[in-house]
């Protein structure tokens, strides 16, 4: 690098920043926005099931899950019970039947799963994927095999890492930029906005991108284990050594009380339980494994203890993980933020919003910068039109899709077949409609329509909740249910923000052509310079 002047290096990185940021920016925006929403997936799990009461005694749910499973699947191969945390909508009980000979097709997970409500009884609840959808979409996307989706998201993440690092090099006056926000100055304002959201949360952006790649490291670097663990699966066995496999004896024996076991495990593990697995329940060989909840510690590699399922004696504790594995687990924990308290979670969310705005403003900036230099601004070349319209479709369309999905959650009939899937289809139908609109309509009125509609839909949701559900804002505030109240308030605020944006874009007057010609001269572009949406 010594043969390059400082200027040459920065210029090369500015080029890299522009193109690595643009290439998969639309995927990145949706992934970033969905990931941001997913920080409240437990809250949305509850919000999207307004008929469920808040869980106040997790042990009641656990006892109810055991009662239900002993009745429903007494001789299953295994049971899985997810313990309801402080913010969860309930527990889930899931069972795997004994494998039958000749049975090849695995049954769908939803056939063998129930939600246990706060009173310990199986809950009758609308079929929805809740906040889990945003969590899965964040790395699995939708309508495509997850392996391709994860590679695509990972490549987008790597491009983002490159864009962030080269972006740091590009910004000479990074700290001055941080305190600068010039309003209504055309391109300069977009750049300031992009810089402010990028620099303000820069440590977060770097952390979240890097740790995001780490969550998929084993898939992304399949050859990294080529020398140390050439045998398939050997790396995992070394990472997570398991106890001996359990053989069914055929002698029936009652299962111990899971509540007592969980209480003991929580004391020994040093934190709340997240997950209980029972292998061969009702058999003399039964084993119970309790895993500590990810919400109680930074590392995602949470420890577990295995008990004898009949005597309740502790048999085996997961071995200490080494420093490197704890580091990797902590990076994944930092990414998912499960460990975070209410305020830290809110900060995560705000940083995620800043990141989404950073991506969106960067993409719009690409068009704003180039519009000035177009040979004929009335008829831009294909590449310019493509980026401009994809921006409207992706940045304007995804939030509209989310709003449509939340409305579908409220309005689709409860008894509808495939209801959960249709909620998700509604997101993509709305997003697809936005894409179609941006193909046929001019960008500016389209921004106004999409942003405005999104704003109205989001802001109207809490109003619907007030009359259509028992969990309106007032009821939530009255009962001190801050999670439900917070989501309604956030919807109102996002609705207002989208409407304000739509108004600004609508009021923006494109500059007269002669002004644009003057802007091409080496004068600073003035505030009348053509750009959209207005800012």
């Amino acid at each position: 690098m010594s043969d390059l002047g400082d200027k040459g290096f920065r210029q090369s990185q500015a080029f890299l920043h522009t193109w690595s940021g643009l290439l998969l920016g639309w995927v990145l925006f949706a992934v970033f926005a969905a990931g941001t929403i997913a920080y409240y997936r437990e809250g949305l799990n509850r919000w999207m099931r307004p008929e469920l009461a808040r869980v106040e005694q997790p042990e009641k749910v656990l006892a109810g899950a055991q009662r239900f499973l002993e009745d429903k699947a007494p001789d299953a191969k295994s049971w899985f019970i997810t313990m309801p945390g402080a913010t969860a909508h309930g527990g889930t009980a899931f069972w795997v039947p004994q494998p039958k000979e000749g049975e090849t097709r695995r049954r769908r997970r939803s056939d063998n799963q129930v939600t246990i409500g706060a009173n310990g009884e199986p809950a009758t609840v609308r079929e929805t994927r809740g906040g889990e959808f945003f969590y899965r979409f964040h790395f699995d996307l939708y309508y495509m095999p997850v392996i391709y989706a994860r590679w695509l998201v990972s490549i987008a993440a790597l491009l983002m890492l490159v864009a962030i690092l080269s972006g740091i090099v590009t910004h000479k006056k990074i700290f001055r930029d941080f305190f600068t926000l010039r309003r209504s100055k055309g391109q300069r304002s977009w750049l300031d906005g992009h810089n402010a959201t990028a620099v303000l949360a820069l440590p977060f952006h770097l952390m979240i991108t890097y740790t995001g790649l780490v969550t998929l490291a084993v898939m992304l670097l399949p050859w990294a284990t080529a020398v140390t663990f050439p045998k398939e699966g050997a790396f995992f066995e070394a990472l997570y050594p398991e106890g001996p496999a359990v053989e069914r004896t055929g002698r029936a024996a009652p299962l111990v009380d899971l509540t007592a076991i969980v209480r003991d495990a929580e004391a020994q593990l040093g934190g709340k339980a997240g997950y209980v697995e029972v292998v061969e329940p009702g058999d003399a060989a039964a084993r119970v494994t309790v895993t500590r909840s990810g919400s109680t510690m930074l590392s995602s590699r949470t420890p577990h203890i295995t008990y004898d399922g009949v005597t309740g004696k502790a048999l085996r504790r997961s071995p200490e993980t080494g420093a490197a594995v704890v580091t990797a687990g902590s990076m994944i924990g930092l990414h998912a933020g499960r460990y975070s308290s209410d305020w830290l979670r809110f900060l995560y969310f705000l940083c995620g919003v800043a990141g989404s705005v950073m991506v969106a403003s960067g993409m719009v900036l690409w068009t704003v910068k180039r519009r000035e230099k177009l040979p004929d601004p009335a008829r831009p070349h294909f590449g310019f039109k493509l980026v401009e319209r994809l921006n409207v479709a992706a940045i304007g369309g995804f939030p509209l899709g989310v709003a449509a999905m939340l409305w579908a959650n409220r309005l689709l009939p409860v008894e509808m077949a495939g209801r959960a899937a249709w909620e998700v289809h509604c997101l993509f139908l709305a997003w697809g409609a936005a894409l179609l609109l941006s193909v046929v309509r001019k960008p500016q009125p389209n921004w106004v329509a999409l942003l405005g509609l999104t704003g109205v839909l989001l802001a109207a949701l809490p109003v619907f909740n007030l009359f259509g559900t028992q969990r309106g804002l007032i009821a939530s505030l009255w009962s001190g249910d801050m999670m439900m109240a917070g989501i309604d308030i956030a919807l109102l605020m996002f609705g207002a923000a989208f409407l304000a944006l739509a108004r600004r874009v609508a009021r923006h007057k494109p500059a007269a052509p002669r002004v644009r010609r003057r802007a091409a001269a080496p004068v600073q572009p003035v505030e009348t310079a053509q750009m959209e949406p207005a800012e």
Partner: protein, 105 residues
């Protein structure tokens, strides 16, 4: 490399070729360098193998990103390629020596 000097200053086709070289250096080659260093670290580091392998994976993404930055910072596409090839070759040689020398196997 002084003969090829600043390839970007040449004709449009030279420029395009130079850009393709840089992209190749950034992505396929940068990824290969990262993987090779992950493997090298997994055998060099004095830790249990699953720990060393994990460290290698954690570091690989940084190597991949910095390789991409270098690919566009280098004076020419060819220089980007040979420097990265050497960086990967060093890792491969280290891994080879350590495995032969009884470091792991």
């Amino acid at each position: 490399m002084s003969g090829r000097g600043n390839a970007a200053a040449g004709s449009p086709w030279r420029k395009r070729g130079d850009m393709i070289l840089r992209i190749l250096a950034a992505l396929p080659l940068g990824y290969a360098v990262a993987t090779l260093w992950a493997i090298a670290l997994s055998v060099i580091l004095p830790m249990r193998p699953e720990q060393a392998t994990t460290v290698g994976m954690l570091v690989a993404f940084a190597i991949c990103a910095v390789s991409a930055m270098w690919a566009f910072a280098a004076k020419s596409g060819w220089k980007a390629i040979w420097v990265l090839a050497v960086a990967g070759g060093v890792a491969a040689a280290l891994a080879g020596v350590m495995t032969r020398g009884g470091g792991v196997a």
